[in-house]
């Protein structure tokens, strides 16, 4: 089990970095579009479609690593007032609910994905038409992976490992360089 968990963790991290590089490439695409439009009066066709579809993909690709790295926001005010075992119980329940939620997202997105594949659904017109099935596939796959991440948090909770990871920074932000190990 621990091995599978490690493997999934590495996979989630790789997806995270892949999406990070993707985001960087989008920045270059946007720059090229602006320069092309401003200087050569020739914007890059389909930039908006590519970027908007990519953001959905990037968000989902990075979700499951963020879950593992405790990047998800939570309110911590009861931690100080209730006994630790009660809060642990609540967190565990929260993880289970989250597993159900992400499995439901994957299940609900399955049919639309097959449809998009079968009817060759495209977005945008003109020079660049972006097919929609890759993003839909990413949503399904990454929702399943996110459910696994939550299952992993649940398992860690069962083994008695604590909620607060060393890099936990509530609310996110650039608090600590090198947050991710």
């Amino acid at each position: 089990m621990v091995n599978i968990d490690q493997w999934l963790g590495r996979f989630a991290r790789n997806m995270h970095m892949l999406a990070a590089i993707w985001l960087f490439l989008l920045a270059f695409l946007i720059l090229a579009d602006v320069v092309g439009r401003g200087i050569f009066n020739a914007p890059i066709q389909g930039t908006a479609e590519l970027v908007s579809n990519s953001i959905v993909a990037i968000a989902f690709l990075q979700l499951s690593h963020s879950i593992r790295m405790r990047g998800m926001l939570r309110a911590e005010f009861l931690d100080a007032y209730l006994p630790a075992w009660v809060m642990r119980g609540f967190s565990m329940l929260g993880y289970l609910v989250a597993v159900a939620l992400f499995l439901a997202i994957a299940y609900a997105s399955w049919e639309p994905m097959l449809n998009a594949w079968e009817i060759k659904e495209y977005q945008g017109d003109g020079a660049l038409r972006v097919p929609t099935y890759p993003v839909r596939m990413i949503i399904v796959a990454m929702s399943v992976l996110s459910a696994c991440s939550y299952a992993s948090l649940f398992a860690r909770g069962l083994r008695g490992e604590h909620e607060a990871a060393p890099d936990a920074q509530p609310g996110g932000g650039a608090a600590e360089p090198g947050g991710a190990p």
């Binding site: 720059l31 997202i105 609900a108 996110g172 650039a174 991710a180």
Partner: protein, 445 residues
């Protein structure tokens, strides 16, 4: 039970889940989807909301601004540009009483124009300014309060993640919101700086400067001996240039906010590399960007599910009737909203507060005849106070985690930053009476 009452009950369950420490996205999504499913009486409706929001909500060019601006801030925060800025500002302010505190405030204001989150500034200035202040024997409470307090400028001076989220929820133009925050942000920075100067004049001992020091025998801080060399100039000029291109580009109509954010991220990368940022740190920056932005983007999906619940339950309309039916004056209603924001700010993060309250509050404010843009700024001011208030002020915790001083207590930082959140809340009412401070730039540019 009527559908509104049922939706209200789901909101109560949602708040209970948040209180129990469930991840906020999960709580929002589950309460909303289950609520909608039960209201519609069909599982298929609930499932279709899950699939359609996951796929549709973020599919818009404008959402790229969130990760791009976060990336820009991450790179700049790691580049050391903030320290350069602080060195230069401190030199410029050499004759000003309490200069390190004033330099911290102004440094935060400038820094706020390149980062979209307050926490980045709090972390950075804890490392840069605090040791200098301690070396000059500043009172620790004053020094810490100044660092935590002035980080609140980060969300008010554009670019700001809170404004982006607010704009997305209310369909206000993000570029206009950025413009709207500018003057209130400057006003707040001026208030903070004035407060520091006045306090330094009244109680010089808190700023390590006895009467003697003011008479000319000024103590020197280590930072005064830092030479203003090419590296420092590069950092300072680069930061200012970045602000001019990004904000100037949006306001001058040359770029959309999305384009400005993409170009800004690349300029920040260039500046960071020129400043000698190591490849490892660049990788850290892009990795951290994902850790912050992915949950935020997913939160927006969940917020859309929540707004479907509100719509289906008719909650917005009923709340409007309820609030307006109380017959309170607009001022009293706004005051109540500020109290709600302020209280929520004690417990949950700023973005979640916006997601939970703005869909309900914003239509009420519009009915009261309050300009939606001015209302957005008022809301952001009140919500930002939450990062400074006990028991869980995020900026305070960040400062505590980042200052290189183990003796500092949270209590000390909370005490020191109290005047700053009083200013924040006070400015809400300044904007209420003089909305033109927020609306002047958006209507004239």
């Amino acid at each position: 039970m009527g559908s509104t009452a049922f939706a209200g009950m789901m909101i109560v369950i949602l708040l209970l889940m948040i209180a129990a420490g469930f991840h906020i996205n999960v709580a929002l999504a589950v309460a909303s989807v289950v609520g909608v499913g039960i209201l519609a009486g069909k599982t298929s409706v609930a499932l279709s909301i899950l699939s359609s929001t996951s796929y549709e909500v973020l599919r818009d060019y404008v959402f790229a601004v969130i990760p791009m601006f976060i990336l820009m801030g991450e790179l700049i925060a790691r580049s050391g540009a903030a320290k350069d800025l602080f060195v230069v500002l401190n030199r410029l302010l050499i004759r000003v009483p309490g200069r390190l505190a004033v330099a911290t405030v102004i440094g935060n204001a400038v820094f706020a124009a390149v980062v979209g989150v307050s926490i980045a500034s709090a972390a950075t200035f804890s490392r840069i300014a605090y040791p200098q202040m301690v070396a000059l024997r500043y009172d620790k409470t004053v020094a810490l309060g100044c660092i935590a307090g002035s980080s609140s400028l980060g969300m008010l001076i554009p670019p700001s993640v809170l404004m982006i989220v607010w704009g997305v929820l209310t369909e206000l133009s993000i570029g206009k919101l950025f413009l709207a925050g500018f003057l209130p942000g400057l006003l707040l920075a001026a208030l903070y700086a004035t407060y520091c100067i006045v306090l330094a004049l009244l109680k010089p001992e808190l700023f390590g400067e006895g009467k003697r020091a003011i008479d000319g025998m000024r103590q020197r801080a280590a930072i005064d001996d830092t030479p203003i060399d090419a590296a420092v100039i590069t950092g300072t000029v680069g930061t200012v240039l970045l602000i001019v291109v990004v904000l100037g580009g949006i306001w001058g109509g040359m770029f959309t906010p999305t384009e400005a954010s993409g170009i800004g991220a690349l300029m920040a990368l260039a500046l960071a590399l020129i400043k000698g940022l190591k490849w490892r740190d660049v990788v850290d920056a892009i990795s951290e960007t994902g850790r912050t932005s992915a949950p935020l983007l997913f939160l927006l999906i969940c917020a859309q599910m929540y707004s479907r619940l509100l719509a289906m339950g008719g909650v917005v309309g009923s709340m409007q009737e309820l609030i307006l039916g109380l017959g309170l004056s607009p001022l009293a209603i706004i005051a109540c909203m500020v109290v709600v924001w302020f209280m929520l700010g004690m417990f949950i993060d700023s973005v979640s507060i916006i997601l939970l309250t703005v869909p309900i509050f914003s239509p009420v404010a519009t009915k009261l005849g309050i300009d939606p843009i001015a209302f957005a700024i008022m809301g952001i001011l009140a919500i930002e106070a939450g990062i400074l208030t006990p028991p869980f002020g995020l900026a305070v915790y960040t400062v505590k985690a980042c200052v290189p001083d183990r003796d500092v207590t949270l209590r000390q930082i909370f005490r020191g930053s109290t005047p700053y959140w009083v200013f924040l809340v006070g400015e809400v009412f300044v904007i209420y009476y003089f909305p033109v401070i927020a609306t002047f730039l958006p209507t004239h540019f």
